[in-house]
Symmetry: C2
DNA sequence: GTATTGACTTCGAGTTACTCGAAGGTGATA
DNA sequence: TATCACCTTCGAGTAACTCGAAGTCAATAC
């Protein structure tokens, strides 16, 4: 059994966010101790992890709520849930590609800056005459 | 020269967002035509692309504004800009790793659902007796 | 010649998902 | 008994869109 702070650390989110998610009903059957403190078992942590990943896919809270509701309805909703996950799978794949492009873009910028900073006075003269690359 | 709608399509964002960014001063020296319509040249598109990537790194608009301001101050700010980009580089690398984990997570869920959906009646009996995997 | 279409403009309100901090309870340590 | 460090609820604040209204303008349709 974990406290809010512990799961927050485990899942790399703030405790505010963990409470927010639980308050939104995103963690089914969340336990409380005698002092009304939230208690997370393995299942609760798994739900939160699922929420985290879906959120990072850009899925709105309300849609996640719907998905979790379907999960609790049992086997009759398997196909519907599968379709949802399949869509998020496509999203996640696109995000991975974007992340690669983004990294490449920034890597190039860093490389540019390193190049500029290593320039000699002569290089600088030459560079200002022929600005072939975006230097910002 | 491109219109708002064109760059929005090129950079895969809404025209609302493109206008929002320009209104925030994130595109230096943005041109207008005789009817006050925004006109984007290559440089403007490049600024927007930069903004897009930095935003996707989670950088707040205000910080991007600062960065762009530094870019316009010239060579004296190169080192500062390099440090900023180096931090975003670290962010982008972390994001790429996260994107991989996220994709793997969702891939597993999709696999689970496919497995469940292909189960025979006997499999279902067996599965409900031994729920070893999270099936939601 | 007018009417509709579509793309553009500004502006201001609304939305989402946090994000923060106040005010207060509890239990352990100094 | 005081000070932590944790927890609680609640309500306000914020960032970054997101949307739609109201209006301008140029081109095509009839």
């Amino acid at each position: 059994m974990y406290t809010v702070k512990e799961v927050a650390a485990m899942l790399d989110m703030t405790d505010h966010t963990v409470r927010y998610y639980t308050d939104q009903g995103l963690v089914p059957n969340l336990r409380r101790d005698g002092h009304n403190n939230r208690l997370f078992d393995e299942a609760s942590v798994n739900w939160l992890l699922c929420v985290k990943h879906l959120r990072h896919c850009g899925m709105p809270i309300d849609d996640i709520k719907t998905y979790i509701g379907l999960c609790q309805e049992g086997d009759s909703t398997v196909k519907e849930r599968y379709e949802i996950m399949r869509r998020q799978h496509a999203v996640a794949r696109a995000q991975l590609e974007e992340a690669k492009l983004r990294l490449a873009y920034i890597e190039e910028k860093v490389g540019n800056y390193l190049g500029i900073m290593n320039d000699t006075e002569d290089d600088i003269k030459h560079r200002t005459l022929i600005p072939s690359e975006p230097l910002y």
